[in-house]
Amino acid sequence: MSLRNIGVVYRKELKDSLRDRRTVISMIVVPILVMPLLTIGMGALMADIIGKAKQQVPRVMVLGGGDSPQVTSQLAAAKDIEIVPARPDYADEISNKQIRAAVEIPPGFDAAVQSGQQVTVKIYDYEGDLNSELAAKNLHKFFGDYSDATVRKRLESRNLPDSLITPFDITEQNVAAPEKVTGAIIGGFVPYIVILLCMMGAMYPAIDLTAGEKERGTMETILSSPVSRLHLVIGKFLMVLTASLASAALAVTSMGVSFGIGKHMLMSMASGSDANALQLTVNFKSVLAVFGMVLPLAVLFSAALLAISLHAKSYKEAQSYISPLTIVVILPAVASVLPGVEMNAHLALIPILSTSLISKEIMTGTYHWKYIALIFASSCVYAAAALGIAVKLFQREDVLFRT
């Protein structure tokens, strides 16, 4: 094994790749921009949408209530809803977003409330639509307050205290450390992004250094030089791995910066008590540990992508092989974020999913050393196998000269 030759090939590939716009975009630009875009950009967009929705006074239809002037007059006076005339096609109006919600007041509502009879008020909304759900929430609040006021009046008329219906208060207090809270909130998201970018970063260099070389006619040129195919493939592999790890490292750095800015934005948006509750802290030791767990995965991605791209005759063909692979990476990464998917010995052997699951745990500050060792070892085995396949393929004439 000549480290000198591997170094010569690696340095040339690095120089060549850094002059390739596609590689620079996938290796440097995307990882730097994706986190701020996802966190700050999406966060700001969501805050804007929610803010606007909250500011808007939703149009609401009141169905019935003709014989209950007390409740209808109070509804009409409510500031956070706008009453529109009732129509029989209220369901269509809600579905078409002409109105945001409707409330059905049963006949004899006022009289029933007076006499202490139980009646049901029905709220119609568009589930999943933010504006409609906010309108329904406003209606809920109105009728909740109306119900409380009615109870208070009844107690008052019987000279009974308010505490009769609320014998005690309930409060919640978080006891978990801020990094654990943060880990639970974004724990699944961070490894998912790092894993995905690890693959995305390796994708273009892997294609460029194999199928790209075949297409441009430089493969035969390099094969006529005295460098052995083993040194050649290792030099190329190291370049792809560099791109993969650089993407992941830049994503993590960018994530740290975005998180800091995002947290600042959230704190400034949150009101007093909410701001105190918002103790978001990322433990960078955990982020580094996640990066460590992703290392063998980056080796696996780099070697596998190199081997697959080598099979292709052209850049385009390689892209068509590799694009579906993105789903193969995304699916297990997404599966790890699903509720109820917990780590066990079997899952620990499934690449990507296992790394994603354990990284989620690490982000909350929990280190299951047995699983970490098992996952790291199994990922290393898969990575070595993929690298072995890539090296073998580089010896095969039918692959190198596939026409």
Binding site: N5, V9, K15, D16, D20, R216, E220, T221, P226, S228
Partner: protein, 243 residues
């Protein structure tokens, strides 16, 4: 020196089955001589030369290049060979100097030796004007010069040219033809393949006519003319292939 003995190459194709691209080719080329492999497209020229350059491995027979066996001493063979074909392109994103330096490094040369050798080659081929220009910004003629410089950087004793003028304009082709002659004059062993009769007539000391993987006739131009009682090489070629 190049020597092949019953050299053969069998490819396995999923659709077409076994394909014998080269079949029992035996020839010898001495230093200071040019051996021309003359054949139509698909005759087996490229496969033969790729085996000599150790890019492909022979499945039958044997060959030695500069005294080394192509099957068992491939890296040594490549150290002594300069291989140039229209398929050997340049790294578009590297400059002319970077490409040549890269190949010097791959041949195990140190930086000062590369610089010294590169200066001499660049001056001889009048390349200094564009040595810092990226290869994708070079004209076809300039690219050919960079390719020549790449094959010469390690001063190989054997030169293998696979249809080196294919697709080139007259001026670029003349540069290559001149370069091949120069290699012979410097005492290098030269093998080149072509399907252009005039090129073979102009350059070759020995011509080998190859068809369907088999070497059908061999000799100097004068020998072939007297053997087949024809003066025109094209007529000789047709007669050999059709017989």
């Amino acid at each position: 020196m190049i020597e092949t003995r019953q050299l053969g190459k069998l490819f396995h194709d999923k659709k077409r089955g076994e394909i014998r691209a080269v079949d029992g080719v035996t020839f010898r080329c001495e230093p200071g001589r040019i051996y021309g492999l003359l054949g139509a497209n698909g005759a087996g020229k490229t496969t033969t030369l790729r085996m000599l350059a150790t890019i492909l491995e022979p499945t039958e027979g044997s060959a030695t290049v500069a005294g080394f066996d192509v099957a068992t001493q491939a890296e040594e063979v490549r150290r002594h060979v300069g291989f140039l074909s229209t398929a050997t392109a340049l790294y578009a994103r590297l400059t002319a100097e970077e490409v040549v330096r890269y190949f010097g490094q791959l041949h195990g040369m140190d930086d000062s030796a590369i610089s010294q050798r590169m200066d001499a080659i660049f001056a001889r081929l009048e390349m200094n004007e564009f040595r810092d220009r990226r290869c994708d910004k070079l004209s076809t003629g300039m690219k050919q010069k960079v390719s020549i410089a790449r094959t010469l950087i390690h001063d190989p004793s054997v030169m293998i040219f696979d249809e080196p003028t294919l697709g080139l304009d007259v001026m670029a082709a003349r540069t290559i033809i001149g370069f091949i002659r120069e290699c012979r004059d410097q005492g290098k062993t030269v093998v080149f393949s072509t399907h252009v009769m005039s090129e073979a007539e102009k350059l070759c000391d020995i011509i080998g006519i190859i068809d369907k993987g088999r070497l059908l006739a061999e000799g100097s131009l004068d020998e072939l003319r007297s053997r087949y009682r024809q003066t025109d090489l094209e007529e000789i070629f047709v007669q050999v292939v059709e017989s």
